[in-house]
């Protein structure tokens, strides 16, 4: 069976001779050829060169051709902050406005054309990749989900709008979904077999809000993708456990989750709907900071945790951090593609947690001089859910000023990993106030967060 057939069968929830393997190598691909993320994301030749190297080195059954959730936002007027070691992040929100201003729904004539922004360069790269390896490898084109795009355009106000102005949220999501329809069209025409709609912020809203705002546009979007002959995938980051079932009901072929979701639980739900599940090799603790054996063992343990692997795809939890050692990804690849051999190799291996918790000194939470807000994140620069959680906390800090203390921790930094573990933070992103978990994987509205802070003043 060809590698891409493995992927297609898994997406159709059919059994496969082995579990397919997909590393979501976005900006990380640049590192394989010594380029910066910015060079990779802005240059057709470099993009093609790096993606072909990903294909050669990591032997994916499915290749992710683009993982940049800022492509649409850039076209629609968001300023981007470019980085050498990761995808760009959104630095301004064109639809942000004061509370007493009417929020704007963009005109449909601003929906990106195939000539806008970086779309032409990305589509040309995709066509070249299709030509080079499309006969054997399944090709994934990733587009920005409507909720994340709406957040890029409107800023963290969108979470307040969900309570105060549901009509506006419906209208803005409708616009963003029309953008997603077009992006899917462009990428399918450029040869993509699978369109993955990536919406990290789905993990940060309640199931009630999912059903009210998200279910309908996503169902229409997946129907559209399938009608064009492509497979439809739904990517989420963060603890989306509560929303897995409603995600399955949108008609996608597959769901992809990160380490915040228990993949055994999620697979059991997905199996009921014949939806494939992909995931969830931890991006930082295992892939970035672990050894090759840690990576092999994680994949073997994950495979062995299922009685039936039908519909399973071994994948990285989300977009791979830039600095992941290449041998770790290769270890995952070997474990996924040659599980029997690797199982033997790691049978006696016991992973050592070298995190030094004693080096972390936690504040004396019972004797704080003023309220302390702590945001525990994966990385606000690269994880959209973290970006908007931190944006909510930033707003609170701006409102309270010196009356509160405020800290942000990133799970990409070893010291912060130790602190996160010592605090027992269950999911990222999470907000703590005076050492107590107040918002776990749900971005609070401004009023909710300010009320929670006032309660401890």
């Amino acid at each position: 069976m060809l590698p891409k057939e493995l992927v297609f069968n898994a997406l159709e929830h059919k059994s496969t001779p082995r579990t397919p393997w997909i590393p979501f190598s976005g900006a990380h691909s640049a590192r394989l050829k010594g380029y910066t993320a910015t060079e990779f994301l802005q240059d057709e030749d470099k993009m093609v060169e790096c993606l072909l190297e990903v294909n050669r080195l990591f032997k994916p059954d499915g290749l992710c051709c683009i993982f940049d959730l800022q492509v649409e936002a850039e076209i629609l007027g968001c300023d981007l902050l470019w980085a050498d070691d990761g995808p760009p992040s959104v630095a301004s929100h064109p639809l942000d406005c004061d509370e007493d201003e009417d929020p704007v729904v963009p005109c449909e004539c601003t929906i990106p054309s195939a000539e806008d922004g970086r779309i032409p360069l990305i589509c040309r790269s995709m066509r070249r990749i299709k030509e080079a390896i499309g006969d054997t490898t399944a090709l994934y084109g990733l587009i920005t989900g409507p909720l994340t795009l709406a957040s890029h355009l409107r800023g963290s106000n969108i979470f307040m709008d969900m309570f105060d102005d549901d009509e506006y949220v419906h209208d803005l999501l409708d616009f963003c979904n029309k953008v997603a329809f077009k992006m899917a069209d462009y990428f399918i025409e450029a040869g993509m077999d699978v369109i993955a709609v990536v919406d990290p912020l789905i993990s940060q809203i309640s199931t009630a809000h999912f059903e009210e705002f998200i279910a309908e546009p996503f169902t229409a979007l997946f129907e559209h993708i399938k009608s064009k002959g492509a497979y439809a995938s739904f990517f989420v980051c963060g603890d989306a456990t509560r929303n897995i079932e409603v995600m399955c009901k949108t008609g996608c072929h597959s769901i992809s989750v990160d380490e915040n979701v228990n993949i055994q639980t999620a697979k059991a739900i997905c199996d009921k709907y014949n939806v494939s599940i992909g995931g969830n090799i931890p991006l930082t603790t295992i892939m970035l900071h672990g050894t090759q054996q840690d990576n092999m063992k994680y994949v073997i343990d994950m495979l062995d945790s299922f009685e039936d692997t039908t519909g399973l795809i071994v994948a990285t939890g989300c977009d791979m951090p830039f600095g992941i050692p290449f041998e770790n990804t290769i270890g995952c690849m070997q474990a996924a593609q040659h599980p029997d051999e690797v199982r033997e190799m790691v049978k006696d291996y016991v992973a050592e947690d070298d995190t030094d918790l004693s080096a972390v000194e936690l504040p004396d939470y019972t004797n704080l001089k003023k309220p302390l807000v702590e945001a525990f994140t994966l990385d606000p620069a690269t994880c959209a859910a973290c970006t908007y959680m931190v944006a909510a906390a930033d707003e609170a800090k701006a409102a309270f000023g010196d009356a509160i203390d405020y800290k942000v921790y990133k799970y990409t930094i070893k010291e912060d990993i130790a602190r996160t573990k010592k605090m027992g933070v269950p999911n990222l992103p999470s907000l703590y106030i005076n050492g107590e978990l107040k918002f776990k994987s749900i971005i609070p509205s401004r009023e909710e967060l300010e009320a929670a802070i006032r309660a401890v003043m």
């Binding site: 076209i75 009417d102 005109c107 000539e115 806008d116």
Partner: protein, 311 residues
């Protein structure tokens, strides 16, 4: 062959006045003008109707947007299909339009074979350039596609502002002709300096959209000249442009506001021109300008007058 010039420039940069001057340079040629306005109610068509040129009006959206491009193409095709097609076509794009698609539209194979695209002329309001260039994305795009840049209204600007504009224009496309002028005047040989636009490099910046642009129409009644001026002065600074013809007790007046500058001047309807829609003001704004809020705050200050906001 029919030669086509595109005239761009942000709202209030003086395109319509410039067009009057441009037309005068070609007294014995068959001319056509395509005039495009973002608002529902077109005013420029009325202002241009006294010119000796065939007029095509396309309102309520940019000719380069998917919502109006078909109308633009049909308009051009109908002009080219005339028994005696125009020798020159001037296209006045809306001040809010992003013209970066002009080349791909005009060079579609088999569509406009008898058309010779002579290039884009971009007018700049010298005094307002810095503010507009920083807030309105389309302004950068208009400058990016220009083959000739005319810094207009120089009489209202400081020398420092003029040199800043020259630097911005030069940084975008080195070597491009840039001239300073006032009242939309131009020298005939400036047109000769325009490079062959179809072989020119594309815009330096990638093509983006401005999703913040908005328009609304105000319908006014029971105002007189003094009260309408006072009314406009309250909110004009929160808009890019306000334009329309008003029927006041003092007579017909053209309201023409560029940012905070409010101008009301007597207006005469030409017998040959189409009648403008009276008492409707088109208001254009975007990028966080609180126009609606200011208008709503202004209305109660004029008891006995009536203002309705039509989205």
């Amino acid at each position: 062959m029919t030669k086509l010039y595109l005239i761009t420039g942000f709202l209030g940069s003086g395109k319509t006045t410039f067009l009057h001057n441009l037309v005068r340079l070609f007294p014995s040629r068959r001319l056509a003008i395509v005039v495009n306005e973002f608002g529902k109610v077109g005013v420029d068509g009325v202002l241009l109707s006294d010119l000796r040129a065939k007029l095509v009006e396309i309102n309520n959206g940019s000719i380069f947007c998917s919502c109006r491009v078909e109308q633009f193409e049909d308009g051009l095709a109908s002009l080219l299909a005339l028994a005696e097609p125009p020798e020159l076509i001037f296209v006045e794009a809306s001040g809010l339009s992003d013209p970066t698609a002009v080349r791909s539209i005009l060079t579609q194979s088999g569509k406009f074979d008898s058309l010779d695209y002579a290039g884009a002329i971009c007018l700049i309001d010298a005094a307002r350039f810095q503010k507009v260039y920083q807030t309105a994305r389309v302004c950068r795009m208009q400058l990016a596609v220009a083959d000739l840049v005319l810094i207009n209204k120089c009489d209202l600007a400081e020398p420092r502002q003029l040199s800043e504009i020259r630097a911005a224009a030069e940084a975008q496309k080195p070597g491009r002709p840039v001239h300073e002028t006032s009242f939309g005047r131009l020298e005939p040989d400036w047109l000769e300096e325009m490079a062959c636009p179809l072989s020119a490099d594309g815009p330096a910046e990638i093509h983006t959209r401005d999703i913040t642009l908005q328009k609304l129409t105000l319908h006014l009644s029971d105002f007189d000249l003094a009260s309408v001026e006072a009314f406009l002065k309250i909110f004009a600074g929160d808009t890019y442009r306000v334009k329309g013809v008003l029927s006041l007790p003092e007579g017909l007046y053209l309201a023409d506001c560029v940012g905070p500058l409010v101008e009301l001047r007597p207006f005469a309807i030409q017998e040959t021109s189409p009648a403008p829609e009276l008492d409707c003001l088109t208001v254009l704004f975007g990028n966080g300008l609180p126009a609606k809020k200011s208008i709503r705050a202004a209305i109660p200050l004029f008891p006995g007058r009536s203002v309705s906001i039509i989205q």
